[in-house]
Assembly symmetry: C2
Homo-oligomer: 213 residues x 2
């Protein structure tokens, strides 16, 4: 267990847990692949990525793994409605994460309808993201899935050059493919000049239109 509280001892600091919402909390760092919380654990905290990247995962009956989402700096995660986490969360790379107590958040929402609205909106946007992702999984072929994934990252970074924090296996488990298929598809996209691959973890989007499919 290498997680470190870097901000201040026990629970003395203030963190901006959502845009415009600052509450008492703490910042911790997690090593790559370190668990932040486990599926089934009580959901006592809500989290926000400061630096690095986080994935939420669920293990499948057949031994496989599904990655629900990747969270990048600024993203909020772990805000379940129920009492317990429905996924595990792990740091993809060395990451700083802000935590605030769920109870503090709920108290803030009860006393202020604007805050309540903002929290609802966070959940609602996450719902929309997942709906989009669902379509990807339901209907598209490997090239379209990988293409859309890269486009989304580039949009997020506001740059056609994307540094991938996650492995091929992570991408595969997110897109419902195998790591070999992800690798093959990216090689093919590079051959088609839709992207360039200066290195395995660095992607340049040359022809974004070709990726939209």
């Amino acid at each position: 267990m290498h997680a470190q509280i870097v901000d201040s001892p026990p629970l003395g600091g203030l963190v901006e847990i959502a845009p415009g919402l600052t509450l008492p909390g703490v910042v911790m760092t997690f090593d790559a692949n370190e668990e932040i919380y486990a599926e089934g654990q009580p959901a006592d905290f809500v989290y926000r990525v400061i630096t690095g990247a986080v994935r939420t995962t669920r293990l499948l009956s057949d031994g496989g793994r599904q990655i629900g989402a990747f969270y990048l700096p600024g993203d909020v995660f772990g805000m379940q409605c129920g009492e317990r986490h429905r996924f595990s969360a792990e740091a993809v790379t060395l990451s700083e994460v802000a935590l605030v107590r769920r109870s503090a958040l709920e108290r803030a929402a009860e006393s202020d309808s604007v805050t309540a609205r903002r929290l609802w909106s966070l959940t609602s946007h996450e719902l929309e993201d997942i709906q989009d992702h669902m379509f990807l999984l339901g209907r598209k072929d490997a090239a379209a899935r990988v293409g859309q994934f890269l486009l989304r990252l580039a949009t997020r970074a506001s740059s056609p050059i994307v540094e991938l924090p996650m492995s091929r296996g992570d991408i595969a488990d997110h897109l419902g493919l195998t790591l070999e298929t992800v690798s093959r598809t990216m090689s093919q996209l590079a051959r088609d000049r839709a992207i360039a691959l200066p290195s395995a973890r660095r992607v340049v989007l040359c022809d974004p239109m070709a990726l939209a499919a």
Copy 2:
């Protein structure tokens, strides 16, 4: 356009739009396959199924169709966060649907934190349902998808005998399969004695364990 307002003229009645939340609204009936609202339209109302069944759909670039979810009596749908609907909604069978104005709902939420919490909870549960569905689409094979779908319907009906309101094509567009594959898979499950098919639209779950996969 065959939609009928059955409850009372323009907007004079009261409907229970969510468990324990009654607001001014109206009940309408829709014929099978009739559109309730279209993707892109302003989301001025929130809906609740009284009788029948509703599907939310989105058309894909390649001409295909994805069904986001089916809604059964008691379910709330159309509660987007944004100003516009992100899906179309259609009646699967002849259905009665209650409507209330979004603005009325939002006013209720602003003035009462318990109501706000309840609405957030609705969105949050829909998120959880979709997350489960995402896993299905991401990893499982045809038998597991169809099996889980039938299990969910049976759980919902609290009965091992399920009357399917939707066609094989609808199921296929929901599970990310083709209608032929859905049909073949159900035939195979029947051959394996996991289910019985007294008729195409009626399914009896003989061995629920075998469906869990």
